[in-house]
């Protein structure tokens, strides 16, 4: 990250989980509708700090940054987010 020493790059391809594809699609739709710029995404990913950045997977960073942007812009409220997350958790992944 940022020109700091790191291990070798893992160049293998892998299959994406359904949720990862959904996150990708979500960003495309939000960009087209003018709710996010890729620069806001990057800024919020940078805002994770080095430790969280290392721990999270690629699309985990994306959904974190997308969510942060939507809260910052007032597209969703924290209350809406929390309520919806609780709802999904209760339905035990049937979504």
């Amino acid at each position: 990250m940022g020109g700091l020493p790191a291990g070798p790059v893992e160049a293998t391809e892998h299959d994406y989980a359904l949720w990862e594809k959904r996150v990708d699609a979500l960003l495309v739709l939000l960009s087209k509708k003018g709710h996010i710029t890729v620069d806001e995404l990057r800024r919020n990913i940078e805002g994770l700090g080095a430790e969280a950045y290392e721990k999270m997977s690629y699309y985990e960073r994306w959904i974190y940054a997308i969510t942060q942007t939507l809260i910052q812009r007032g597209v969703i409220s924290i209350d809406e987010l929390g309520s919806r997350m609780a709802q999904v958790q209760q339905s035990d992944g049937k979504h």
Binding site: G2, E40, R42, Q72
Partner: protein
Amino acid sequence: MASTEAMPARFAPGDKVAVKAAFPIGHVRTPYYIRGKHGVIERFCGTYGNPEELAYARPGLPRQPLYRVRFRQAEVWPGYHGNAADTVDIEIYQHWLEPA
């Protein structure tokens, strides 16, 4: 907002430039490791909304000229052991460049 609102290009291919050695907080696309280094304009890439503004949901105008700048690896990385002729190209916005 006028999408034609762009800063005029200051540099042409072959021009020697220095990257600003500035370290502001905020979203900056100029990599840390290239700040303060000297390179040569390889090509003009067009004008784009300023990512330092777009990152905060502002319009990013005037659009900034973007250049591909070529650097010698030996200057970029201390103790570089590769071929002395090796280079690295980095795309940098005009407001980060000064004539050198």
